[in-house]
Amino acid sequence: MKKRIMAVLLAAASVVAVAGCSNSGSGSSNSTTTTAATAAADNGGAAAADTTAGGGDAAPAAAGSDEGNVFNIYAWNEEFKGFFEKYMPGYDAGAATLNGVPVKWTINPSDDGVYQDKLDAALQAQASASADDKVDMFLAEADYILKYTDSDYTMDISQIGLSQVDTEYTYTVQAASDSNGKIKGVSFQCCPSALIYRRSIAKEVIGSDDPADVQAALDSWDKYDAVAAKAKDLGYYMHASFAETYRVFSNNATSAWVTNGELTIPDVVDKWTEQAKSYYDKGYILDTLPGVWDDGKTAQMFADGKSMCFFGPAWYFNFCMGNAQDPDKGCYGDWAICEGPQAHFWGGTWILAATGTDNPSLVADVMRAFTENEEVCENLVKNEGQFSNNKTVNAKFANDPDFGNAFLGNQNDTAVFSEMTDNIVWANATIYDQLCNEKYQEFIKDYINGTVDKNTALANFYGYINEKYPAVVTP
C-alpha cells in the first residue's frame, strides 16, 4: 500500500513538472489560448445597466438606454486589453467593469488563423446567442479587417453615433471602410513601421548611431545590401529573421494577393524572396532561419545579440521587444529608429462594433476614448510609447524638444513616425491576406534553406491555400 501511495505521489510530481515546463514553453512562444473571463459578477448586472444609461458620456447615443449586462470583447492578444484597463474612462479595474458593466475578454491567438475562425463562429452565432453572450466589440488587424468591414456583421459607426474625425490618419479610416465607403470602425494606433537598429552595432558598422546618419546610409535597398556585407565582415547580422523585411516589401504591393478569385504572388513578395535567399546564401542573416515571431529571432534582442536591424512600428518595440527591455540580459536604451530603405506600415488594431451588440453606447464610448479623448491618447504616447491615431496629440509630442523615448536613447519617436505617415498607402487588401502573408513565409523557407526548389515550395503554398480557401484559384 505504501508503495502505491509513493507511486501516486511520484506520478503527480512529474505531471506537475512536465506541465510546468510546457506552460512556460507555450508562454514564451506567444501562443497561449487564454479566455480571460474577467470575473463577471452577476450581481452588479442590473444595477450596472442603470448607471450606464445615466452616467454615460452624454453622447448622442442613437442606441437606447437598454445596455446589456456583459460587455464582450474579442481580441487576439493582451495589448489593447492592457491599455483599456489602464486608461479607459469609467473602467473600474477592481471590479473589472466599464460604467458598471462587467467586461469579458475572449482572447485567441492569431496563429494559423485561429482568432478569425473563433471570431467568425461567434459572429455567425450572434443572432441566436443570448444577450450576455453576444459579441459587442472586436478587434481586427490590417491583414483581415476587410473581411469584417465588407460584411453585415459590423456596424456603420454612424449607427452608434460616431462620425469621422479629422484628427485620425487617412489610411486608418480607409482601412476601416467597406467597399461602399461606409466607415465601420476606428483604429487606436497608427502604424508606420520603422527600421529599429542597435546603436552600438551601428556605430561599429556605419560609424555613427545618429538616426540621420544611419538613415543616409540605409535609405535604399542597394545601400542596405552594401551595409549588410560590411556588417557580415565585422561579425554581425544585418537582421535576424529571414522574414524581417517581409512587410517592408509586402505592404508596398502594387497588386493584391487575390484578384477576381485568382491568386498571384505580388511582385514585391517575389523580390523579398530573392533578397531573403541571397541574404541566407551570403550569411547576412541567421542561418537557422527563425520566423519573425520565433524565439531564435527574439533572442537576438538581448545585449549579446549580433543583429543590427529590426523592422516594426511603435507597437513592435513596445510590445514585442521584451527581450531588449530585459533588465539583466537586455540592452534598454541602445536602440534608435529611422525610416529605412522604404516607407511602410505594419499591422494596426481596429476596433469594430459587432452587429447585434447589446452595448452600443459602451462600444461608442471606447471608440471615442481611444481616438478623440486627448487625455487617453496622450497617455498612450507618453506612458506606452504608442503612436496614437490622433494627429493633434502626436504633433504636440513631435514638437516637444524635451520628449523622448528612453528605450530609444531618448529619441523622439513620435516626430519620426509623424513624418512617415504621409507615405503610407492603403491598397490591395483582400480578405485572404493573413494566411497568404504568414504561410508564404513559412513554405518558402524550404526553398530558402535549400530543402526543395522554388516551384515545389510554391506548390506546397498553393496546396495549403487551396485547402484553406476553396474559392481561391491558384496557378
Binding site: 507511486a7 510546457s22 512562444s29 520565433d294 534553406n449
Partner: protein, 316 residues
C-alpha cells in the same frame, strides 16, 4: 430455431429465448447506428456537395456528385498527388512509432509478468510507464518543440560542446522521428498494460510444464507466450493502427499546421482540419474522411487476415 413450437399453442414447454438475446444486444446496435453508421453515411453524403464559406459568405450547398473526390485525386502542378503523400506521411510516422511501441511493450510485459524475475516495485514501474499517457498530446508536442528548437536545451548542449545549431524541425527525418517518438512515449505504457493482462491470462501451468521439459526462455516466449497472446496483439495492433491513422495533434502543433518541411509531416487528419477549419468546407472534408475510412478498413482487414491462424482454413 424451433418454428414448430409456435404453431402449437397447446404446448408451453418450449419458450423462444431469442427475443431476449436480441433485446440484450440491441443497445449496441442502437448506439452503433446512431453514433457510427449515420455519421458515416452523412459524411459520405456531405462529400457529394460543394459547401463552404468564402470569408463570411456561405457558398452552396450545391450537389456536385463525385467532384470532390476527383479534386482530391488530381495531382497538383508538379505531379505530386497530395492525398497519397499525406497517407504515406501518416503511415511512415505511425510505423516509426508503433513498431518500437509494440516490441518495447511486449518486452516490458514479459519482464513484469515473469514468475522467475519477480520484479519488485511493479506498481511503481507500471504507474511510471503509464504516466506519459495522462499528459495531453498537445502539451507533449509543445514541450518537445521547445526542447528541440533552435534555442532549446538540446541545441544549447550541441553548441556548448562545439557543434553547430541543428534545425530539427527543418529536416524531414528529425521532425518525423520526434513526432514518432512522442507517440511512442505516449502509448507504450498503455500497450504494456494490455499485453500484461493478456500474458497473465495465459495458464501458468503451461509455463511450468515448459520449464520442466527444459525449454529455454526464448522457446517459452516464441512457442507459448506469442501464440497464446496473438488475439491481444491483434487487438493492440488494430487499435494502434486506427489511432495512428488519425494522427493529428502532435504533428499539427509541432509544425504549426504547416506540415513542414516540404509537407512531409502533414497527415490525413491535418489535411481534414485544413479543409474544415477556416472555410468549413464540408464537401472536401467529407471526401477526405471517407478516404480515411476506406484506408482504415482495408488495413484493418489486412492485419486481421495476416494474423489469423492458418489452420482455421477448414472451418466448421
Amino acid at each position: 430455431m424451433s418454428s414448430t413450437t409456435s404453431t402449437a399453442p397447446a404446448k408451453h414447454k418450449s419458450i423462444s429465448y431469442a427475443k431476449w438475446g436480441y433485446l440484450f444486444i440491441a443497445p449496441f446496435f442502437i448506439i452503433y447506428i446512431t453514433c457510427s453508421l449515420i455519421p458515416l453515411l452523412s459524411t459520405f453524403y456531405n462529400s457529394l456537395f460543394e459547401n463552404y464559406m468564402d470569408g463570411l459568405k456561405q457558398i452552396g450547398p450545391n450537389f456536385v456528385g463525385l467532384d470532390n473526390f476527383v479534386k482530391l485525386f488530381t495531382p497538383r502542378s508538379d505531379g505530386r498527388l497530395e492525398i497519397l503523400n499525406y497517407t504515406i506521411n501518416t503511415m511512415v510516422m505511425w510505423i516509426m512509432g508503433a513498431v518500437p511501441q509494440v516490441v518495447f511493450a511486449l518486452l516490458l510485459a514479459v519482464i513484469f509478468t515473469s514468475e522467475r524475475l519477480k520484479i519488485k516495485g511493479q506498481t511503481f514501474f507500471k504507474t511510471v510507464i503509464y504516466m506519459p499517457n495522462l499528459i495531453m498530446a498537445s502539451a507533449f508536442a509543445m514541450l518537445f518543440f521547445q526542447i528541440f528548437s533552435s534555442v532549446g536545451p538540446i541545441n544549447q548542449i550541441i553548441t556548448a560542446s562545439g557543434g553547430d545549431v541543428f534545425m530539427f524541425f527543418d529536416k524531414e527525418w528529425s521532425t518525423r522521428s520526434i513526432i514518432a517518438f512522442i507517440n511512442f512515449l505516449m502509448w507504450f505504457g498503455n500497450t504494456t498494460i494490455l499485453l500484461m493482462a493478456g500474458i497473465m491470462g495465459i495458464d501458468q501451468s503451461l509455463f511450468e510444464a515448459a520449464s520442466i521439459d527444459g525449454a529455454t526462455s526464448t522457446q517459452v516466449f516464441f512457442k507459448i507466450t506469442i501464440p497464446l497472446l496473438m488475439p491481444i496483439i491483434i487487438y493492440v495492433v488494430i487499435t494502434a493502427l486506427i489511432g495512428g491513422l488519425q494522427m493529428f495533434d502532435v504533428p499539427q502543433i509541432i509544425t504549426a499546421g504547416s506540415g513542414r518541411p516540404n509537407n512531409t509531416t502533414k497527415t490525413l487528419v491535418m489535411a481534414l482540419n485544413s479543409y474544415i477549419g477556416t472555410s468549413k468546407n464540408y464537401g472536401m472534408a467529407g471526401a477526405v474522411s471517407f478516404v480515411l475510412f476506406v484506408i482504415t478498413g482495408i488495413l484493418s482487414f489486412i492485419v486481421f487476415r495476416s494474423t489469423e491462424p492458418k489452420k482455421e482454413g477448414k472451418k466448421k
